[in-house]
């Protein structure tokens, strides 16, 4: 969606959801519901990590990824591993779809509201603070929005691929855009089109939808490289 930082944060958050998804699959409740407490844990971890250390976010991604996978596989039956890792769209009920849509709209409006402040903070915290923007508050809202998106994303593409669902359409949009308006619009459209085509291919080919969606997104990214101005 927005920036490099967001893609970096989505990585550890996505992987952290794996134990939550595992629990949800074993006890048969909503995957996003299982993922959510772990996403909250992830936000606290990221917050501590940024406050206490100067390590790059990639280090956290690596640690959390391996720990998340390890914990999930401690108790998750191997037959259900695929669902946890790459999602299973056939499990979705109409009710779940509606709830997901409501949360998506909510996040959309929150992001729309805080967009100028978040962009300014991404450009430079100094000028944002000189403009009397409460950087902590907006960073918290921003992280919260990412957390909700990740928790919803695991339903569609699983704990392994959610970060890609967040990051790839944004990277493609960046390659194609000359301004912020094009950037946010094309990011949105690319995410939608990739999901739509992925699900369509799943219907006709029968491969799991999650990986197909990510592959479509990756395909558009490759195409965008051709158009990218050097």
């Amino acid at each position: 969606m927005l920036s490099k930082r967001m893609a970096l944060v989505a990585g550890p958050l996505g992987h952290l959801t794996l134990p939550g998804i595992a629990l949800a699959l074993i006890y048969g409740f909503d995957v996003s519901l299982g993922a959510f407490p772990f996403v909250i844990l992830g936000i606290i971890l990221i917050w501590l990590f940024e406050m206490r250390t100067k390590l790059p976010m990639e280090a956290l991604t690596a640690i959390v990824f391996s720990a998340g996978v390890a914990i999930a596989f401690l108790f998750l039956p191997i037959e259900q591993a695929e669902t946890a890792l790459v999602g299973d769209i056939t499990e979705l009920s109409l009710k779940e779809v509606i709830i997901t849509a409501i949360f998506c709209l909510l996040v959309f409006f929150v992001i729309k509201k805080i967009y100028p402040q978040i962009i300014l903070i991404n450009i430079s915290e100094d000028i944002a603070r000189a403009e009397k923007i409460n950087v902590k508050k907006y960073n918290f809202l921003y992280l919260g929005a990412i957390a909700v998106i990740v928790a919803l994303g695991v339903k569609m593409v699983g704990g392994l691929l959610t970060a890609a669902l967040v990051a790839i359409p944004a990277a493609t949009a960046r390659n194609l855009s000359k301004n912020l308006f094009q950037f946010s619009l094309s990011g949105l459209l690319l995410g939608m089109i990739s999901s739509f085509l992925g699900i369509f291919l799943f219907k006709i080919m029968g491969f799991p939808a999650g990986p197909l969606i990510i592959l479509m997104a990756a395909f558009f990214f490759l195409v965008s490289l051709i158009f990218k101005k050097i």
Partner: protein
């Protein structure tokens, strides 16, 4: 006598256990141009950020109440990662279309510049955009942090010409950071020489003596007088 817009008393800034600024006191009068001169790493940028209350400090900083401050940072390295045009950059500050056009005009850009991508501007153009950005909402004071490198040839000349013009037009008080002596002589009323500790301060002609400059930059300085305006 013009009224005092900023009073700083015994300012100390310590970052990660290193003393960056020690025992600095000065005063800025309305309409003045104050230059902070010093070598790289002398604490000039830190001083500006401290005056903006972006960094923790000990001592006293008193701005005139209700004063509006515009800040031109040294550089914004991450801005080129974001696809954004000039108009959108100004809209982040909630500027109206009319205000943006007026300000672009006063820093010498045509209206069609609004659709240029920020990442495609030259360093000199970008610096002028930053000045214009800081001037949105008519600040009383401009804090200008000079980039140490990377301005296109001729760019430095025009930016100080531009600042002089804006000062006249808008009745600005300017605090600027530089390592360039000629800027001080041409452009400023008051100078603070800073190399962690304040070395000297006063009217440039009086305090920028060979002795003080040697203290500021080390012994190697060759002193040459500039044309005095």
């Amino acid at each position: 006598m013009a009224e005092s817009i900023l009073k700083v008393k015994n300012l100390n800034v310590k970052l990660e256990n290193e003393e960056i600024i020690k025992g600095l006191s000065f005063e800025v009068k309305k309409g003045d141009v104050l230059t902070i001169l010093g070598p790289n790493g002398a604490g000039k940028t830190v001083l500006l950020k401290t005056l903006l209350r972006l960094l923790p400090y000990r001592g006293e900083i008193h701005w005139l109440p209700e004063i509006k401050i515009g800040y031109v940072p040294q550089r914004l390295p991450f801005i080129k990662d974001i696809p954004m045009n000039v108009r959108e950059f100004f809209e982040l500050k909630k500027a109206s279309g009319k205000e943006i056009k007026e300000i672009l005009d006063s820093v010498g850009f045509e209206e069609n510049f609004l659709n240029k991508k920020i990442g495609e501007l030259s360093s000199g153009q970008f610096q002028r955009i930053l000045v214009a950005w800081a001037l949105i909402r008519n600040p009383d004071v401009l804090l200008f942090d000079e980039p140490t490198t990377g301005i296109d040839i001729g760019g430095e000349e025009t930016i100080y010409g531009l600042l002089a013009k804006l000062r006249e037009e808008r009745n600005l008080t300017i605090l600027l950071v530089t390592h360039d002596l000629s800027v001080v002589f041409k452009f400023s009323d008051y100078v603070i020489c800073l190399n962690k500790c304040p070395i000297c301060q006063g009217i440039p002609k009086e305090v920028l003596t060979l002795e003080n400059l040697s203290k500021l930059y080390g012994e190697e300085v060759k002193f040459y007088e500039h044309h005095r305006h």
